[in-house]
């Protein structure tokens, strides 16, 4: 089924404007952040106009209504990814979600060193120099730097699944990379820079065999394709609401329920406690234990509206539309003189973010030219600097697509690229 593109686009008020005077806005930067439909913006303002109150605090009408909306949103978002409500922790963004997991390692390790008793679950999070964390060379800084910090604090070793020259994970040595020493395998589902969709099932199955935990960074997959945790079976999964039509400031961490109940806490304070004394406290059970302080309730409700919006279009349709545009853009870019795609050259295991370089024009200059024509792309290393080094490019230009894009957006970009080439005489 093809999407009703004009109806969809008219739901996004941002496209009503002209940029740089008289240019239609062509937004090809949804991998950085997506635009928001009226349905999400309205859900936010409606919450503030009618239901704003302190969630899980107070017993007046507004506090109760706000709490109900917040918890309904949790159930709705859970079912969107095939999870249960008691497995969904709200954070600020995916970066915080991944930090929560990395800190559960350093916190469990520190408690052990202080001689505190650990639960069986917590014990799986104690690491030292003889243990390993397995990542890939393809990770966003958000799934790299927290583990580097964990290495500095505990001595745990970092290992990486390499990338092939054409931008896929090289699984040749996976049998030796995953061993009894591996404590967690943390992998990006779809690369934000190469567009590669990683075949994580095999890697996760291998990880489970040796008793390692698994984390899936699904920032670029949950917005664009059906993702079901009961099929992929990760222990943790992180994503950000703002990349899937939702508001800024709300991220999700899915945690398998048997792990969640005993996991070390991360951010502590109000709302996550059971009983508090001056010198020690006990903590709430379940997801509340990981939601300290006043939560961004309106944003959670807004994310739930975004999920409703996507569900109505149907994630299979969203996915197919993205693949259609990607295929069209790959062809057009490959036909263009002096343009090289960085990452998979074909549609095999590939999603809707395309990085490319233009001979003799730096991406920053490419981006400047596109911007002058009203086209928003991302330039630079896309928070994946090691990927640029591995692919031997200093930076790239990235076009990424979503439900409000159409093939003519690709055509406009190609035309603008030709103008830049003419200007720089290449």
């Amino acid at each position: 089924m093809s999407l009703d593109l004009s109806a969809i686009k008219s739901d996004f008020p941002i496209f009503q404007q002209k940029v740089h005077g008289n240019k239609d806005l062509v937004y090809l930067d949804s991998a950085a952040t997506s635009q928001k439909p009226n349905q999400v913006i309205d859900a936010l303002t409606h919450f503030y106009r009618t239901s704003n109150g302190g969630i899980h605090r107070g017993s007046h009408a507004l506090a109760e209504r706000a709490t109900m909306l917040y918890e309904d949103a949790r159930s709705n978002i859970a079912s969107f990814i095939g999870a249960e409500a008691n497995e969904i922790v709200f954070t600020k963004n995916a970066t915080e979600s991944i930090n929560l997991v990395a800190y559960s390692f350093s916190n469990a390790t520190a408690k052990k060193q202080q001689g505190h008793a650990l639960s069986d679950i917590e014990a799986r999070f104690v690491v030292g120099p003889n243990d390993e964390i397995l990542l890939t060379e393809m990770e966003h800084h958000a799934n790299l730097v927290p583990w580097q910090e964990l290495h500095l604090k505990t001595g745990v070793q970092l290992k990486f699944i390499p990338i092939t020259d054409d931008g896929y994970l090289d699984l040749e040595t996976i049998d030796t990379l995953i061993s009894e020493r591996t404590k967690i395998v943390s992998i990006v589902h779809q690369s934000n820079i190469l567009g590669t969709i990683n075949q994580v099932e095999k890697i996760f199955a291998q990880a489970k065999k040796v008793g390692a935990l698994t984390l899936l960074d699904s920032c670029q997959s949950v917005p664009h394709m059906p993702v079901d945790v009961s099929q992929l079976n990760p222990d943790f999964m992180a994503f950000s609401g703002h990349k899937m039509l939702g508001p800024n400031g709300v991220g999700v961490l899915y945690v398998k329920s048997d792990i969640l109940q005993d996991l070390s806490v991360f951010i502590t304070g109000g709302s996550m406690i059971e009983v508090v004394h001056l010198e020690h406290s006990s903590y709430a059970k379940g997801v509340a234990r990981f939601e300290a302080g006043t939560q961004s309730a309106a944003d959670v409700v807004g994310l739930s509206a975004a999920v409703d919006y996507l569900r109505k279009i149907d994630m299979q349709n969203v996915h197919e539309h993205g693949l259609d545009l990607t295929q069209y853009a790959l062809e057009k870019l490959q036909e263009s003189r002096g343009v090289k795609i960085v990452g998979p050259q074909t549609m095999k295991e590939r999603g809707s973010a395309i990085s490319f370089v233009v001979d003799d024009i730096h991406p920053h200059d490419v981006g400047q030219f596109l911007d002058a024509d009203g086209i928003a792309v991302r330039v630079g290393h896309h928070c994946a600097w090691p990927v640029c080094r591995r692919m031997a490019v200093p930076a790239t230009t990235r076009a990424s697509f979503y439900i409000y894009n159409q093939k003519s957006d690709v055509d406009v970009m190609i035309e603008s690229l030709q103008k830049a080439q003419k200007f720089f005489g290449v």
């Binding site: 740089h20 730096h362 200059d365 911007d371 640029c388």
Partner: protein, 147 residues
Amino acid sequence: MNLESLYQEIILNHYKNPNGKVASVDSPDAVHHVNPSCGDEITLAVEMLDGQAHIIFNNVGCSISQASASVMFDLCESQSVSKIMEIEDSFLELMQSRGQGIADDELLGDAIAFVGVSQFPARIKCALLPYMALKDAISREIEGVSK
């Protein structure tokens, strides 16, 4: 939007035929500066001889940062530290002028062409990168000499 004001002829010429750039900088005193938002990089070393700065650098990056390094080299090579600091200050002022330029522009020579860059907030860092590296390298060189 006026791309011509950004990419002035002088800038494009320096970009295509940069001055002062060497294939590699081996000096142990070299500094390495990067622009983390776009990946531009410069490695630069300064040697002080008879009160004059001698500059070598190698860089990768966009047209603005490459051209800026070339113009900076033309302005600052064989100058005294105090003159270089004057140039740096004027150039910084130019970059903060939001396209208005500055009153005393004689000091800056070709660098005046960068006035257009000051209207593009994302590109100001590109133009300043080589100047930041030079400033850093000079202060290291001076500290090293006084030790």
